[in-house]
């Protein structure tokens, strides 16, 4: 199963809106929270529609519009979204209204828009697209599940053009609660220091990343999703190694064919040690990178990694700050393996290759 990336729309804490500029200069943040750089929404949303939309919905609709325009298509054959948290801002608004008004006077807007599938549904309504529309919610493998569904649909019909997304927002309340719970580093000066602190926790992030994927070759394609797989709660590193070995060999590749390994290292000591052990044992001579200092940690951050990998394959260049083991890709980057896991529980592998 594979699919070409025809178009991209990316709203992230980095300057990722313009696909013609890569790699841009790294945007630096102080503290433990990264926020998206938002574009001018009026380009994609009418003011009368915008007034009812939460921030994430505006990000999702705009990134989808940018992505479709990039791919040169007006409406997709399917909309498949991955999200860990769904519409947090509307959910918080709705729940706070219940508390503030003693369970009376509930207004409809935030309730209607508090569901996980709001973004996919709203895009469908705006595009008048009444075709396949699904949202996957599965913690840190939500995007991979959406990607897997996309690949299966394209296997059935390679001519389909699917709008695939990974989207999650970071609201003030969610950040405060998770910060109090110890999710985020307290002692960090900023995102450029992420791997320099030997402590628990990471930095918080968010993003709305959309791809148009298709089974058809096209001169404008960025890269090719050549495989995705997930793996739950290994009992030992041996199991993880077998999973990775099987994933690579089943795609007809050898370890030395991987030109770049992009890991989900996020500064959390315990979690990063899993990556270090695997990297040292299985990929000792492979250029290895990370990306969460650019976008922060959030459930669908692997969509950002896919964007990063696709742009590296398309342009042949990469941000200097992502390299972590001193080894750099030599020559063309043909195969990129993205390896993401959280708490050694949900592991995911995505293979990106040249078209």
């Amino acid at each position: 199963m594979e699919a070409y990336i025809r178009g991209i729309g990316n709203i992230s804490p980095q300057n990722s809106w313009d696909n013609a500029v890569f790699p841009g200069e790294m945007v630096l943040y102080e503290g433990n929270r990264l926020k998206c750089i938002e574009p001018d929404y009026k380009e994609f949303i009418k003011p009368i529609q915008m007034r009812r939309m939460s921030r994430t919905l505006k990000m999702g609709v705009s990134a989808a519009g940018r992505c479709l325009r990039d791919a040169g298509i007006e409406a997709p054959d399917a909309i498949i979204v991955g999200t860990g948290l769904g519409m947090m801002q509307d959910t918080e608004k709705f729940l706070n209204a219940i508390l503030d008004n003693d369970e009376k006077f509930l207004t409809p807007t935030s309730f209607i828009q508090s569901t996980h599938n709001t973004v996919g549904a709203h895009i469908a309504v705006m595009l008048k697209c009444n075709k396949y529309n699904l949202t996957y919610v599965h913690e840190n493998i939500s995007f991979e599940e959406a990607l897997l569904d996309s690949l299966m649909r394209i296997k059935e019909d390679p001519s389909e053009k699917i709008l695939l997304a990974g989207i999650d927002e970071l609201t003030d309340e969610y950040f405060t609660i998770t910060d109090n719970a110890g999710f985020w580093k307290k002692d960090i000066e900023g995102n450029s220091e992420l791997l320099k602190h030997s402590s628990s926790g990471s930095i918080a992030g968010e993003g709305a990343i959309f791809f148009v994927v298709s089974g058809e070759e096209h001169p404008g394609n960025y890269a090719r999703f050549a495989g995705v797989d997930t793996f739950y709660k290994p009992l030992s590193d041996d199991e993880t190694e077998s999973f990775i070995r099987e994933f690579i060999s089943s795609r007809g590749l050898e370890f030395q064919d991987i030109d770049l390994l992009i890991t989900g290292m996020n500064g959390d000591n315990e979690g990063d040690n899993v990556y270090r052990r695997i990297q040292e044992k299985m990929f000792p001579g492979t250029p290895t990178a990370y990306y969460k200092h650019l976008c922060g940690e959030y459930y669908t951050s692997s969509a950002f990694a896919s964007w990063l990998g696709a742009m590296i394959i398309k342009t042949g260049s990469y941000p200097e700050s992502i390299i972590i083991n001193g080894l750099r890709p030599e020559g063309a980057v043909n195969n990129i393996l993205i390896y993401n896991q959280t708490n050694n529980t949900n592991h995911a592998l995505t293979l990106l290759s040249t078209c």
Binding site: P47, R51, R52, K104, F105, T107, P108, T109
Partner: protein, 84 residues
């Protein structure tokens, strides 16, 4: 009545997120739905909740909504007549 109309305009701008509008931009006698302010059915639900929450008035018969919510002035008149 004019004070109530002014207050209603401020409340409607807030509840319906009419971010780029000022109370002075809304004509007290213009239609709220359709040609006028361009509100829709979800806005109608928001306005029903606004009447109940801020003025303690419950609309018993939904058919009355069309008349009550025709304009800001008809809303103000309805509130004046029904507020206890």
């Amino acid at each position: 009545m004019e004070e109530l109309i002014k207050k209603l305009k401020v409340e409607i701008i807030e509840v319906l997120n009419l971010e780029e509008m000022e109370p002075g931009d809304i004509d007290s006698d213009a239609a709220l739905f359709g040609e006028g302010l361009g509100l829709d059915s979800i806005d109608a639900l928001e306005l029903i909740v606004l009447l109940e929450k801020n003025y303690g008035i419950k609309i018993e018969d939904p058919k009355d909504g069309r008349k009550i919510f025709f304009s800001i002035r008809t809303m103000a008149e309805f509130i004046t007549e029904n507020q206890k």
